[in-house]
Symmetry: C2
Subunit: 198 residues, 2 copies
């Protein structure tokens, strides 16, 4: 099914190649673990020439990084609803939906894979985390501009994303709407007290 969607995705040959190569990397990381496949394996599975991959991405590390950034930035878009409360709830619900799906652990697998990849892998991982942090920071900056008092981007990682990821990682789903809302409630109560002075 995913193959089918991928092949029919609009955008011409270049976009089709990119989608097929990304899909192959995600599968190979899941099946073999990072370090246990080559650019040749990716090319075979994606049905493209090795040289196309080398020309476009240069190395397996930078290809893996591209896959990770794409997964993170296209899978759970950051809402802009006009209030931090509903932005956070919408974002958390989107993340929960994505990581509960069949490729739910792909981002975590890629993050772990890159962490094992030495300096180049670490650099790639930093880039994809920075991209996500930048997007979250924009949401928080919009809230601050409106006069709201947002938490820091790292607080969202620690108290919203981390619990969602770990619950899925340990197979402790499903991530119910009530559970997700309770995480957002706590985050807002801890970092954005409305009436309580402490």
């Amino acid at each position: 099914m995913a193959e089918d969607n991928t092949v029919r995705r609009p955008g011409g040959r270049s976009a089709r190649v990119r989608a097929a190569v990304h899909h192959a990397v995600t599968e190979l990381v899941a099946e073999n673990g990072y370090g246990n496949f080559t650019i040749g394996d990716v090319a075979t599975r994606a049905g493209v020439a090795d040289s196309s991959i080398y020309r476009r991405w240069g190395s397996l590390e930078s290809l893996t990084s591209d896959v990770a950034v794409t997964l993170l930035t296209t899978s759970s878009p950051i809402p802009d609803t006009g209030s931090l409360d509903s932005d956070l709830r919408g974002y958390a619900a989107g993340v929960a939906r994505d990581i509960s799906g069949p490729d739910g652990l792909a981002v975590l697998r890629l993050a772990m894979a890159l962490s094992q990849g030495g300096a180049i892998g670490a650099d790639a991982r930093d880039r994809f985390i920075d991209e996500r942090r930048r997007q979250i920071q924009q949401m928080l900056d919009r809230a601050a501009t409106r006069g709201e008092k947002p938490p820091a981007a790292l607080d969202i990682l620690d108290h919203l994303l981390a619990p969602l990821y770990i619950r899925i990682l340990f197979g402790m789903g499903p991530l119910t709407p009530d559970y997700i809302d309770s995480l957002v409630d706590r985050l807002l109560a801890a970092f954005h007290p409305k009436s309580v002075q402490r």
Copy 2:
């Protein structure tokens, strides 16, 4: 170095075999990913006969589960200091120390491995999570007996363990004492308000 310690560990041949087999599984999961090695591979690396492993553990799933439970229960002992505050700080510091080490991601890798292992893997994962939850619950029950108002075990997973794991997973260390203390502070403030009535 680890090999050396393992081999010299006291407890006779049975304990030495167990340690060598556990070490081999941890390495193979890290190097190959779960599903990409057999009991024969474990036996070869540990220097024991296949039949010893089958006799003792029965299957790769139950062996992997045993390794995961052992890692979780021996690596970060739960303190009993007489106060919830210092129990939590000691426990969090121990977890942070363990996951910051060279085998830091082993528990996460094993958890992900078991999650991919179908029904038998899921059952094994549940057993190792239940064991850890039981230990944490004992710490919380001791606090309740002393008249303290502890958070729930799942709150400790969500707001103490999850951020520590995700920070390491995403290579966002080091886990400084100040950072760890801030997580404990928030947990206690959110679930164990001392003077603030809300």
